[in-house]
Symmetry: D2
Subunit: 295 residues, 4 copies
């Protein structure tokens, strides 16, 4: 099994709904994917946190997964989040995504009952044994309730053959340092925390998984390019320029803020699914102002 060269800006998709967060709007999803690919993002990641994957019915999840993969149509790699609370359903989703043509699947170990390290390892092992595509291990305690230590991540990385990529979203740069040092520079890691974009690249991250690519893809790409060019001063300027927007969309909840931003930039994507509220009027005005400054 070979891992595609995943790097650079990895754009998360939202899942557009019709009225009040109900029925899917796949046509809008297609346009949002095209917009990011046309702007130059290096990969597309559907059904992640931003994509409200956890809020979909099983049937909806399959529809969005199939549509996204086919719509990307290998213009760039597709990384599909297949996380679920049970191992059995995560396996079903991983197999489905692979069958539809996903290049990579992303797995966040979800928690209701706290999981021990052996349970988390077995979860990854069982998924890995069921598919033939690479797994991007995803650590995000804020949404999942589980914080995998670097030692555990490395244990899984070395034990489960398919786990070849690591996405770190704790927001603590020391985790990336530790992945680099303990992983002896052999573990490709990706940043999932928007306000850490500059420092994660400084620390050696290969890519930045971000929903901001729906709104300001060029600034995201320019920051990545400046770091590749070893031009820290330019990167710092670019980073501080986009940071207020990065913080805004994170703080307001990505589905609500990114959907509002898409609408403000001409791509109606509906509202998040309840109980999550759409962005309120004051927030929309603030977002409009931030987008205007960056336009």
């Amino acid at each position: 099994m070979s891992t595609p060269n995943i790097h650079g800006i990895i754009g998360y998709t939202v899942t557009p709904f019709s009225a009040h967060g109900e029925g899917l709007d796949l046509e809008a999803l297609g346009r949002s994917i095209d917009r990011m690919i046309d702007a130059g993002v290096h990969a597309i990641a559907p059904l992640g946190s931003t994509g409200e994957g956890a809020y979909l019915s099983d049937a909806e999840w399959e529809q969005v997964s199939e549509f996204s993969i086919h719509h990307v149509a290998r213009r760039v790699p597709t990384i599909v989040s297949v996380s679920d609370l049970t191992t059995a359903k995560a396996i079903r989703r991983a197999r489905f995504a692979e069958a539809q043509g996903a290049d990579v699947v992303m797995v966040l170990p979800a928690s209701y009952w706290k999981l021990g390290e052996a349970e988390i390892l077995a979860h990854y092992q069982a998924i890995g044994d069921s598919i033939g595509v690479p797994i991007m291990l995803y650590n995000n305690p804020a949404t999942s309730g589980i914080d995998m230590s670097v030692e555990l991540i490395l244990k899984i990385f070395h034990s489960v053959e398919n786990v070849t990529l690591v996405k770190e979203s704790t927001g603590d740069i020391q985790r990336m340092h530790k992945l680099q040092l303990l992983g002896e520079g052999q573990v490709p890691f990706y940043n999932g925390c928007n306000p850490l974009a500059l420092e994660a690249f400084a620390a050696g991250a290969r890519g930045w998984c971000t929903a901001a690519a729906n709104l300001i893809p060029q600034l995201n790409l320019d920051l990545y390019q400046a770091m590749r060019d070893n031009d820290l001063e330019r990167a710092r300027t670019l980073f501080y320029r986009q940071l207020p927007l990065l913080e805004f969309i994170l703080k307001g909840g990505l589905p609500a803020t990114v959907k509002a931003g898409l609408e403000l930039t001409g791509l109606a994507a509906g509202e998040p699914r309840r109980p999550v509220f759409p962005l309120a009027q004051a927030g929309r005005q603030q977002l409009q102002g931030l987008l205007h400054q960056l336009a």
Copy 2:
């Protein structure tokens, strides 16, 4: 709408599976319900955290809900957990439980994307508007990722007519003090933290929601009775006697430990659903020892 007099020991059910956490074993569920009711518990609460409600498919959830309510058959009140990540599905479940005859539904606001106070209130309001039975509001940040302040709980209690009962599981006794003081003694609160059983009753809790009633119902009931009898010394002795078991089942994860305990006491209930592991051999021996001391 009148609220049934919920008090005393409220026994959580497990959800027995057949092999490896697969298919439902409703016959075992029925026996576990009978065991608790025969022992004298004051209410039965299916599909809570202990019941692995979050790990069931929609069809399974309905089967367990329907079976449990019909099997209890009004011998004691039934309190069905109907929590879900989306408001829409929580409403569907609440309506289903009501239609089957549930006396009360329990609602824990689940979190993937963090919810603001208005979102949580609207979630309860929407569920409340959809049903005619009382709601037990449930606060448990350790499993849900949301910690409702006492002020928010009281706001919901006063805004949503059906919310007439509050279950507090932070493990912080000060929350109960605050419910009592700010609620001016008018808010019936229940304890969901096993190692806080003695102090919660001391602080005025009307009941104790516990999975321990599957294993040591008499000790649970005796503690409640001693507190009703204003006999603190007896209550303290009873509490310290059962505390090691209460801590053991909590620390090991309730589905794994309670299912092991049921099996050790002659009622095979299968394993938890993966990725959660069944209790390991060393833990089973420790549990056997604890149960033996209390027999």
Copy 3:
């Protein structure tokens, strides 16, 4: 070495200053001690957190220590806090207090650089080896920055002969449960968290160390007596009655609120030492209201 029978209500003294938190006002200190002893408290504890011991010069500390011990004059036991950042100074203070006639010394391991368990144990051992009176080990991470586990506390209790009393101020009732269970009922523990007074007694605490005894000694004593009489209902009523005041003085900072309360009840004790502010006017009015309700 025999440990005096320390139990019941242990009243902390403030350290009255003259203007702006400067010079000592020992005459006011004497009156505050008399007031508590006359009301019936079971022990006096000078130079604790409430007593601003950490804010005094070495000379002032000795003056207050000597004066307090001599003024109590064995009417009740005196428990003097001798805590310091360095082991050497804590020893000097412990010896001084013993020489002046202290019945017990209290030791909180202070932290600037985090201490390991061996360092904390050695600190207690060195102090214990230097004196002939009992030590009350004091755990209060909120002020000291060190949280001693129950296991460590028991290790010290069993290793250092003089450590015969434990004061727990984390506010987590589970620590007391653990002291009771792991200590096999042989470790006398005391509560230092005001809003936990009811539950700490329920869990078996022998005493309550409280600055509230400066303001509402009778209510404190009545609560203790109700628990001794095994009358939980009366204790609960007494507890909820005084709880708003207990929370107020804790939340506002004990030196500021207790000094304001002393002044409001006719015993001017000056202001806390800067940078701590005296209680602002709004707080004084609130405190006046609370005291009025309890009078």
Copy 4:
């Protein structure tokens, strides 16, 4: 009042003691200062956390302060920590340091009783009003127990004329982002968290306050120079090379590890003051190995 141009590597001194952490060894202190200045550090910072300032008697503090300032003799700027629990003593120390010739004083607001924002501001204001040299405001919740928000830091920066420099040691890079954005690029900030050295410079920190300059000054200086040269790749390589040592000295407690490292490199500086232990034998061997790799 003009602020000297503080930038680059700011070396903390230890405070060498003779046997068992007793009497001062000023001769060793002088040699450690010379070593750092000869290596090229840009400023010297005595009596900080590493310097065990909090563990000294008042007389010792004055001796070390006077000696350090005179020994540096304006070869580079001297930044003296004058922090104390009381405002009065912090003022005395600040005046003393200024009188001896300190270029800057550093102030960490210490906490026993929690301080509100107005109290912290007044503390800085009172110190600022008492001296004519600049203040480096220092935020380090891990040692001080107080975490100043960026908003509060900026309020103090804009209210107290002498506060012209900010040292941030939370280890959270987002604080520096916020200082840069909300401070509109006008607030000179310095990093006090060793494992954040690379990213703090990436985010725009003007300097790095570090005790590592006692052991590996050239690597510290090279990292700073690479960042000034806009050569991120070289900086990253230099950072990862020294990171294991940076983490080791932080994790083991700076006074213990840096004193051990000084001795291993030929400059005996004694032991830390009790209750802090000297570095144990296993740690010394590990440190020796780390230093050997970097030599």
